[in-house]
C-alpha cells in the first residue's frame, strides 16, 4: 500500500508539532519510533483519519484523503486502529466489542457478526472470555481483543499506537506475538512502539520521528546497524542501555 505525505503539518494552539512532512513509499510493515512528544501519535491519528492536518496532504494508493467528516467515516471504517489502552468499549463484553461495529458499520447480520467474533476469540484462545466486560480482563487480553476488533472487518491497514506500553512485561510478548502472526498472514500495519526488538525484527521499515520531522527512514535492520544521525544513535543507545 502506497502512503504519501505531502508537506503534511499539524499545529495545536499555534504550536506546530508536525513540520511539513514529506514521505512517499510502499508500506507493508512499518515501525515508528522516537522520543516522547515527537509527534508519533499525532501522525498516526492523521493517517487514521482521526485528526485533521493543519496543512498538506495525505494520499493512500494515489487517492487523496479528504478530511471532512462525510469522507472520513468510510475511510476510518476501512482501517483498523488500536490504542495504547482503554480502547475497548467499557459497557460491552468482549464479543460485542468485536460484533457491534461489524453489524452497525459493515452491515453484517447479527448471526454473522457474532460468528465472526467467536471465530476470532477462539483463534486468540479467548473463547471463554467472550462474556466478560473489559474491566474483568487482563491488560494483555484487552489489547488482543482490541486487535481482534480492529482486524475483524478485514481492514487494508492496521494502525497501532504503542499497543504494549501500558502492559506488564509478561503480557507484552503475547500481544507482540499476535501482531507477528498477523504479519505472517499478510496483514499490513504501522506500529508506534518502544519495543526496539520488535521494530527491528518484525517490521521491514523503520521511521525515526524526532521533533516533528521524519529524521531517518529506511529498512529497519539498516537503521539499527547504521544510524545516520547522532540523534538516532543517542536514542537507540539510551533505550538499549539497560538491556541484559
Amino acid at each position: 500500500m502506497r502512503i504519501a505525505l505531502d508537506r503534511l503539518s499539524r499545529s495545536f494552539d499555534g504550536r506546530e508539532v508536525l513540520h511539513s512532512m514529506d514521505f512517499d513509499d510502499e508500506v507493508s510493515t512499518l515501525a515508528i519510533i522516537g522520543p516522547s512528544g515527537g509527534g508519533k501519535s499525532t501522525l498516526l491519528r492523521i493517517i487514521g483519519g482521526l485528526l485533521v492536518p493543519s496543512g498538506g496532504e495525505l494520499s493512500i494508493d494515489g487517492r487523496l484523503v479528504l478530511f471532512n467528516e462525510r469522507d472520513l467515516v468510510p475511510y476510518r471504517a476501512g482501517l483498523g486502529y488500536v490504542f495504547q489502552a482503554g480502547g475497548l468499549f467499557h459497557h460491552l463484553n468482549a464479543r460485542e466489542n468485536i460484533a457491534l461495529p461489524l453489524r452497525v458499520v459493515h452491515g453484517l447480520s447479527a448471526e454473522a457478526a457474532t460468528a465472526r467474533a467467536e471465530e476470532l476469540l477462539a483463534r486468540l484462545g479467548l473463547a471463554a472470555e467472550g462474556d466478560k466486560k473489559p474491566v474483568q480482563l487482563s491488560g494483555g487480553m484487552q489489547q488482543r481483543i482490541a486487535i481482534a476488533r480492529a482486524i475483524a472487518p478485514g481492514p487494508q491497514l492496521l494502525l497501532l499506537d504503542e499497543p504494549t506500553s501500558a502492559l506488564d512485561p509478561e503480557y507484552t510478548s503475547e500481544v507482540l506475538d499476535l501482531i507477528g502472526a498477523l504479519k505472517a498472514e499478510g496483514m499490513r500495519f504501522i506500529v508506534v512502539t518502544h519495543e526496539l526488538g520488535f521494530a527491528r525484527h518484525a517490521c521491514e521499515k523503520l521511521a525515526f520521528l524526532y521533533e516533528g520531522s521524519i529524521w531517518e527512514y529506511g529498512p529497519s535492520e539498516q537503521l539499527f546497524q547504521n544510524p545516520q544521525t547522532p540523534e538516532l544513535e543517542r536514542f537507540l543507545s539510551k533505550l538499549l542501555e539497560w538491556r541484559v
Binding site: 490504542f83 452497525v104 458499520v105 474491566v135
Partner: protein, 254 residues
C-alpha cells in the same frame, strides 16, 4: 478503624440491620413513655379516603416533576456547553441560583409573584412547575457530570471503528451515560418525593398538607407525623433499593 472491605455475609447483615432497627424503635418508645404520650391511630380509618387521595397526589406530582425535570435538566446540561454565550450563561445562572437558594423561598416567590403576574392560579400546576424547575437544576448537574466523565478514548475508539457521530451517541455515549446516571437519577427521584412535601405551603393537598389539616382538627400531631414518615418511606425506600441495585449492576466503567 479499618474500613470494612468485601461483602458481609447476608445472614449476618440482616441480623445486624434488624438489631439496629429494634434499638431505634426502643429509644423512640422510651422517649414517648418519658413524656407520657400514648399513640392512637384510630383516625386513620376515619380519614382513609382523604389520606389515600393525598398519597396519590404526592405520587402524581412526583412523577410529573421527575419527567419535566429530566427534560429541563437535559436541555440545561446541553445549554451549559453551547457556543451561544448568552444561552450558556443563562443555564449557568439558573443552576447556581436554584441550587443556592432554599426551595421554600422559591415556592413563595414563584407562586405569589410570577404565578400571580402570569396567571398561573392552579395550585397543582404551579406546584409541579416549581418543583420541576427546582429539581431540573440538580438533574442538569447529574447529566453534565456524567457527560464529562465519558472517557475521550471511548469516543476516539468509536470514531476509529467507523461510527458516525449519531452512531457514536446511540451505541457508546448514550448507553454509558444511562449506566452512569441511573443510580443518581433514581436517588434524585427520592428527593423529589420528599421535596414535594413543601408544596403544602401553597396549599396543594398532597399527603403532607392532608395530614397537617387532619392533625389541626384532631390534635393528634405525633400520630400524623409518624404516619407521614411511614408513607414517605413506603415510596422512597424501594427507590433507594433500586438505585443501589443499578449502582451494583452497572458498575463496570473504570
Amino acid at each position: 478503624m479499618a474500613p470494612i472491605t468485601g461483602r458481609v455475609p447476608p445472614l449476618r447483615a440482616a441480623l445486624n440491620y434488624l438489631a439496629v432497627c429494634v434499638l431505634v424503635i426502643l429509644v423512640f418508645w422510651a422517649s414517648l413513655s418519658i413524656i407520657n404520650v400514648s399513640l392512637d391511630f384510630g383516625f386513620v380509618a376515619r380519614y382513609a379516603t382523604r389520606i389515600g387521595d393525598g398519597f396519590v397526589l404526592t405520587v402524581l406530582i412526583s412523577v410529573c416533576s421527575m419527567v419535566a425535570s429530566l427534560v429541563l435538566g437535559a436541555v440545561v446540561a446541553a445549554g451549559k456547553s453551547t457556543r451561544i454565550l448568552p444561552l450558556r450563561y443563562a443555564c449557568d445562572l439558573y443552576v447556581r441560583v436554584i441550587r443556592g437558594t432554599p426551595l421554600i423561598m422559591q415556592i413563595y416567590l414563584f407562586f405569589y409573584i410570577i404565578g400571580t403576574a402570569w396567571g398561573v392560579d392552579n395550585r397543582l400546576v404551579a406546584g409541579v412547575m416549581i418543583l420541576s424547575f427546582f429539581e431540573g437544576a440538580y438533574v442538569a448537574e447529574i447529566l453534565r457530570g456524567s457527560l464529562l466523565s465519558i472517557n475521550e478514548t471511548q469516543i476516539e475508539a468509536a470514531r476509529s471503528v467507523g461510527f458516525t457521530r449519531v452512531q457514536t451517541v446511540r451505541y457508546i455515549i448514550g448507553p454509558q451515560m444511562v449506566a452512569r446516571t441511573l443510580p443518581a437519577l433514581t436517588g434524585q427521584f427520592a428527593s423529589i418525593i420528599k421535596d414535594s412535601s413543601l408544596l403544602s405551603l401553597i396549599a396543594v393537598i398532597e399527603i403532607t398538607q392532608t395530614l397537617r389539616e387532619i392533625s389541626a382538627t384532631n390534635f393528634q400531631l405525633f400520630e400524623a407525623c409518624l404516619l407521614m414518615g411511614a408513607l414517605y418511606l413506603v415510596l422512597t425506600l424501594p427507590i433507594m433499593l433500586i438505585s443501589s441495585y443499578f449502582e451494583k449492576r452497572l458498575d463496570y466503567a473504570s
